[in-house]
Amino acid sequence: MKALRYGLFIGLLMTGVMMQGKAFAISFGDEGNLEVTGKIQSRISLRTGNTDGFTFPEVARGNMVQQRNLATIELNHVLSQQTATMPEFKYHVKGRFLYEGVYDYGPEAFRDVREANPDVIDDFKHDEDLWEFYADYLKGPWFFRVGKQNLSWGETDIYQLLDRINPLDNTFGGAFEDLDDRRIPIWMARGMYNFGNIGPISSLTLEGFWNPGHAGQEVAPFAPYGSPYAYPSPPPTVPVRLHEPEDTFQNSRAGVRIQGVIDDNFNVALAHYQTIMDTPSAVVTIDPSVPGMVAQDLTYETVQVTGASMNFYEGHLNTVFRTEVAWFWDEPVFIPEINAPALFGNFVTGEIPKTNVLRYMVGFDKNFWFRLINRKSMINMYFQYFAEYYTNYDERQKLPVNRFPFGEFMDQERYEDKYTLVTSTTYMDGTLTPQVALVYDPEGALMYIPSIEKSFHPWIFKLAYYGITGHDDVSVGILRDRQQVSFQATLVF
């Protein structure tokens, strides 16, 4: 099996090299066309700080913490092109091959982690999957997409409000990975109908999706203890049991959205959907069947989200403003006295408390000339302010993450906010892209990611530094000893 995996990867690499960066395309004229494209990518990340706090295993500065090899091959086939009278049929297939090498040839500490937990680590360190597979049908105002796919709603980047439809894979790279690379496609049926102009609203569109819950739900994989991107925590003292959602209709992911353009400027959308939380909720269970009679149960809970988004262009400022608001109904929270009463001497099984949470974002996108540093391309700036507010806040509410060194749970404030800023431009005919991304928590933590990407067609190289500074018990600061530098090489065809 291992040989087969390496064979597939080498085969893909050779294919990429032989295709010399060119997509493979066959045109059938009016009957459509077929294209094959893909990428082969390898990424190595080295930790730039020494391990601190509850991070396990200890890894010295300069050691490898990631060696991710990824290959995707994609086939797009348009069977018939849409015209005023003809429908369009097309399908898309994407295969993904992933292999994380740090557990096999990385630092000894990670090889030991694998040996201690081979089944779990081996399960997520490699993957050969039919990653996306969907068929599209378009006819007039109707659009249907059925199959394994991603769907993203809303206006936000980096943090998700209305964009929680697909689960995220946090087992490799975690917050240091691009959001889209972490999305896990799920099987769903999705449809749209364009009503056209109704009253003051143009392009009024109703959209819906359904990911059946009774056919096996895909959930966000949980980064196990000892993996490089797991949250720092003391070693578990009781058995940890992960429970995936039951196969029931009630556990479906499903939603509707209506959107349109008002006054030829304001893009407005209203949405409601049900999804499954990416972070499982923890309770301490009293169970006589386990040694010690105590276990930690992690369950993936469903949550209903209602929200709206809007963007508009303001001509005087040459700026696009974006905003989004989402109301999370009965979102699971963590109150140690309720989730884990055993910790307080009350030996009963805990429960999952829930409360409504309001989250919103206000942001803007602006392109501007700064000819002192770039005469040919504009500087792109994307700014966002995020906030969350727990309506029925309980003073005992905590984050299920332990503070070093005594292990008490970190505080969950009633109102929390963060700022994000991404700035980039391009040089050398679009082949050189420097970028700086910042995430700032006013409670005292900053994540900063300067990066530079250069393409020598068909190769693309990227160097990025992931720096974190501030308190180790504040949002992004929790990972402050995970600072790393990453180098990535990609071959595209």
């Binding site: 849409q82 378009l138 993203s152 569109t205 262009y313 391309s377 693309i460």
Partner: protein, 432 residues
């Protein structure tokens, strides 16, 4: 006597043949650094310098057709019907001359009789050029965007699909519902290379002086996103092009964003893919495909297929250059942040297609030059005509780097595109 007559006849035939072949010989010639004076005053000064230095070899020819008449039928009709029918407002939008109100539909080009003395003459020339793309109907082109360097030669390509749907100018669009008051809507979708594939952009142009509406789709965020229309002079996909460099008149922005002036008229050499009309064939779906089989292969300089008569890598050696009457129009952006300074356009007086655009930077120094090789399409019966902006090249003189949009793989006019494709929902469906 009979013998004498025969001799005279033979002599006459020989003379006619000599004249005929002499005429053919005179019809086409290569102009290079050895005989550059031949085209002095027929190309912009910067272009003449290319010829003098050997960068450009001009295949100077005449056309076997009247380029002013090989245009869509409704353009020809509008040249008669639209005389004096429309005028411009103070804000340079088009209104009905009689009522002062926006017209419901404009057929062909709005201002067929531009006069140099007309204070709005330059704006009218630009409007006509903008309407020429509309008049060529809905387009679906497969574009290869080629990148070139002086030292590197051909560097790489980006492959795109281009869709454009007019709601004006194109006679069959008259009956099309237009509740959003669009002038046109267009989409560009990048198909390759993989790191850019899926990136898409949609523009709604309004019939009023309203800002264009721009949407973008970036696969990395998997979302249709509103874009600012302020970046129209920003480098497009990192190329030497700016978004405003597009269109049949080599300008794709709003007319009232610039101060325009006709600064001259005369003859220049215009680029054509062939001296003959390119064959257009109606396919089963009723769309018109450009078929280049009679035009011969398109030969780029970088391919080095010729031992001589070849120049810098960004030229098309097989193209022909023919003398055409033009308006010389100056455009100066009103926006102080616009990346270009003065631009000079050389626009055909009869068909309003642009042959050359010379671009200065904001300090007044020459920066870029843009030129187009047109394919003038005609069906076998010579009853249906279409115009294709087949290959457009822009050269950054300072960087000695060029980008070309090459549509010769698949250029289709008069496509029966569905309006829903240009709605928000339709754009989302186009994306991954």
């Amino acid at each position: 006597m009979k013998k004498h007559r025969r001799s005279i006849m033979v002599l006459a035939i020989v003379m006619v043949l000599c004249l005929a072949t002499g005429g053919m010989a005179a019809k086409e010639q290569y102009v290079d650094k050895g005989n550059w004076e031949t085209i002095k005053d027929l190309v912009p000064d910067v272009v003449l310098n290319w010829v003098k230095t050997g960068d450009m070899v001009v295949r100077y020819s005449t056309l076997d057709f009247d380029a002013g008449k090989v245009v869509p039928q409704w353009v020809l009709e509008s040249k008669m019907e639209n005389i004096g029918k429309y005028k411009l407002t103070e804000n340079k939008t088009i209104v009905d001359a009689a009522t002062g109100k926006p017209p419901k539909f404009i057929k062909g080009i709005p201002f067929p009789n531009v006069k140099m003395s007309d204070p709005d003459g330059a704006e009218k020339v630009i409007w006509n050029g903008l309407y020429m793309r509309n008049a060529n109907g809905s387009l679906h082109n497969e574009l290869e965007v080629k990148f070139f360097g002086r030292k590197t030669g051909y560097e790489r390509s980006i492959w795109c699909d281009w869709f454009s749907k007019p709601f004006e100018g194109y006679e069959p669009a008259r009956s099309e519902p237009n509740p959003n008051n669009f002038e046109s809507a267009n989409q560009i979708l990048i198909k390759s290379p993989y790191d850019m594939a899926g990136t898409a952009m949609m523009t709604w142009r309004y019939r009023t002086d309203k800002e264009n509406m721009l949407y973008g789709y970036v696969p990395a965020i998997r979302r249709v996103r509103r874009l600012t229309p302020s970046g129209r002079s920003d480098a497009l996909f990192g190329s030497d092009y700016a978004q405003d460099d597009g269109g049949y008149v080599s300008y794709d922005g709003a007319v009232n964003y610039f101060n325009w002036k006709i600064i001259g008229e005369g003859d220049v050499l215009g680029g054509f893919i062939s001296a003959k009309p390119t064959l257009v064939i109606q396919n089963k779906a009723g769309h018109w495909d450009f078929n280049f089989k009679n035009d011969g292969p398109i030969q780029w300089s970088f391919e080095k297929k010729r031992e001589k008569n070849s120049g810098a890598p960004w030229f098309v050696d097989s193209a022909v250059w023919a003398k055409r009457p033009v308006w010389i129009v100056e455009g100066i952006p009103k926006d102080v942040y616009y990346n270009y300074g003065r631009q000079i356009f050389y626009i055909d007086k009869e068909n309003y297609l642009c042959y050359w655009k010379v671009i200065d930077d904001r300090t007044g120094k020459h920066w870029k030059t843009l030129w187009t090789y047109w394919a003038m399409g005609q069906d076998a019966d010579k009853t249906v005509s279409w115009n294709a902006m087949l290959i457009t090249t822009i050269l950054d003189e300072r960087m000695q780097h060029a980008t070309a949009q090459d549509g010769n793989k698949n250029y289709r006019c008069g496509v029966n595109l569905n309006s829903n494709q240009f709605s928000l929902a339709g754009f989302t469906a186009l994306c991954k």
